[in-house]
């Protein structure tokens, strides 16, 4: 009973930050302090969410597909890059600058170039997501690998462990915290990335729809899309967190 109460209190605290902001926001709008074209009220946004629901669902599908493909690929490439760079010092030397370089290029700037190269399908969007996600993954993981306990590495190598085994028993599990922290960031970037990539053009997707409603000055619908994107990202990140708990049982033990 007491526990249940505590859990409710705890959930209320969690919601309080967001709720507080929403209430103040609604109040300001209701008082007419903020004109609709500057910021629609939460009520307007919810209305738009409801009335626009079918269209939103339809456009979400393709965006989610792009995000999923881009994230999977980006994470795979990021992990592969980190592993290779950790394994081969020469790969590290040759590719680290390149890795950093890719990140210093504004994605949105080369995105149009991607379309020119790859056309209007899903390819340039997935590529753009790969570019934004693989970097935090590669850097984060590499950092995790490099902070492995050198004494433990020495112990295992005294047992004749091959590099692969040292990787498997020490570096990889030791970097798992980093992996999931990066995955969380990547998950959120993948959705945002998909939307931005869709601004490059296309026939459907939340980004395309967003451009459309913005051009017709339907700010309430535009914010409804933003809310939807946030919700999707939050769910994804929650999923990553659950996965982390499952994969790192020793963390929750103590």
């Amino acid at each position: 009973m007491k526990r249940k109460l505590q859990s409710i209190t705890s959930k209320l605290t969690s919601a309080s930050g967001i709720l507080g902001i929403v209430i103040v926001w609604q109040f300001c709008c209701s008082m007419g302090w903020i004109p609709k074209f500057m910021l629609p009220s939460p009520a307007d946004i919810i209305k738009a969410l409801v009335t626009d629901f079918p269209a939103l669902m339809q456009h979400s599908g393709i965006t989610l597909l792009e995000a999923f493909l881009g994230l999977s690929l980006g994470v795979t490439v990021g992990v592969a890059a980190a592993v290779l760079m950790d394994r081969f010092p020469s790969v590290y030397k040759a590719f680290y600058p390149l890795l950093i370089l890719t990140q210093t290029i504004p994605t949105v700037a080369i995105a149009p170039v991607l379309v020119i190269w790859m056309g209007y399908g899903i390819a340039p969007k997935v590529t753009a997501i790969v570019i934004v996600t693989f970097f935090p993954m590669a850097i984060g993981l590499l950092d995790g690998f490099r902070s492995a306990d050198q004494d433990a590495v020495r112990l295992l190598s005294s047992m004749g462990a091959k590099r692969k085994q040292i990787f498997r028993y020490i570096k990889f599990p030791g970097a798992m915290g980093q992996f999931f922290a990066s995955l969380k960031i990547c998950a959120s970037y993948s959705i945002v990335g998909a939307v931005i990539a869709e601004w490059l053009g296309g026939n459907s997707g939340l980004g395309v729809y967003m451009t459309r409603v913005r051009k017709s000055y339907a700010y309430d619908k535009m914010f409804a899309i933003i809310v939807l994107i946030s919700v999707i990202s939050l769910l994804l990140m929650k999923g990553v967190e659950l996965l982390r708990r499952r994969c790192m049982p020793w963390e929750t033990r103590e």
């Binding site: 005294s158 047992m159 004749g160 599990p173």
Partner: protein, 248 residues
């Protein structure tokens, strides 16, 4: 023919010589202790022998083959337990088996069989942070045992154990050494323990550290608790304490 031999090993850190010209032999089936002051370079020597640290000069030979700088030839129990926090105890101690390519299930089972002998029953599924200091030390010893090379280097393996547990493990260890024809080089600060277990005791003293004395313990094993009280035992002990106490 020596099982393990070091020849003129010298090692420095930051330009300061820690050990110098260490030549040492370990014969088949022998147990040799290394005694010396704290910070004298014992662990440093072990690291060189195990191949995890390269000597400035000198060589390490196993069965007369040079293994200087090579790992994987000898079992090594480090002074720190170095249990991996993200693996359960059974998975921690099974690591040497996994490294040798054994299947996970089989390795776990092989490991589990030994938990009783080390007084670790019931800790199989625990994580290292849930164990007492002595239990962790025993888990590290069990891991070293499972590596089962015929030469073992043990760096203060029993320092966190009470007398009772310690003598049980001593008995078990000598027994196993005999059966498996193993040779052991080990570091301890417990002079009684060294006299009780060793065929020979090497004293590492001075700065830089050198082997300044070698004491052969002729009493045959197993040595009973009564040996502790003999005049012979006390002689050994006095001699060692004296040698260690002398500043060069």
């Amino acid at each position: 023919m020596a099982k393990l031999r070091t020849e003129h090993v010298t090692k420095s850190f930051d330009g300061r010589k820690i050990i110098e010209d260490i030549s040492l032999e370990l014969h088949q089936g022998e147990l040799v202790s290394l005694l010396g002051l704290s910070g004298g370079g014992k662990t440093t020597l072990f690291n060189v022998i195990a191949g995890v640290s390269a000597p400035d000069s000198g060589r390490v030979l196993l069965d007369e083959q040079e293994i200087t700088g090579q790992t994987g030839h000898v079992s090594y129990m480090l002074q720190k337990d170095l249990l991996l926090p993200y693996r359960t105890i059974e998975d921690n101690v099974a690591i040497p088996l996994l490294i040798r390519g054994m299947k996970k299930q089989e390795a776990r089972e092989r490991a589990r069989e030994q938990f009783g002998a080390f007084g670790l029953e019931g800790t199989e599924r625990k994580y290292p942070s849930q164990l007492s200091g002595g239990m962790r030390q025993r888990a590290a010893l069990l891991r070293t045992y499972l590596f089962s090379s015929d030469v073992a280097l043990l760096d203060e393996p029993f320092s966190a154990l009470d007398t009772i547990t310690k003598s049980a493990i001593h008995r078990w260890y000598l027994d196993m050494m005999g059966k498996l024809k193993m040779s052991t080089l080990f570091i301890t600060h417990d002079i009684d323990e060294a006299i009780l277990l060793s065929d020979r005791i090497c004293l590492l003293t001075g700065a830089p550290g050198k082997i300044t004395e070698e004491i052969v313990i002729s009493e045959k094993r197993p040595r009973t608790r009564d040996f502790n009280l003999t005049e012979e035992f006390l002689d050994y002990k006095r001699r060692i304490i004296e040698a260690l106490g002398q500043r060069p």
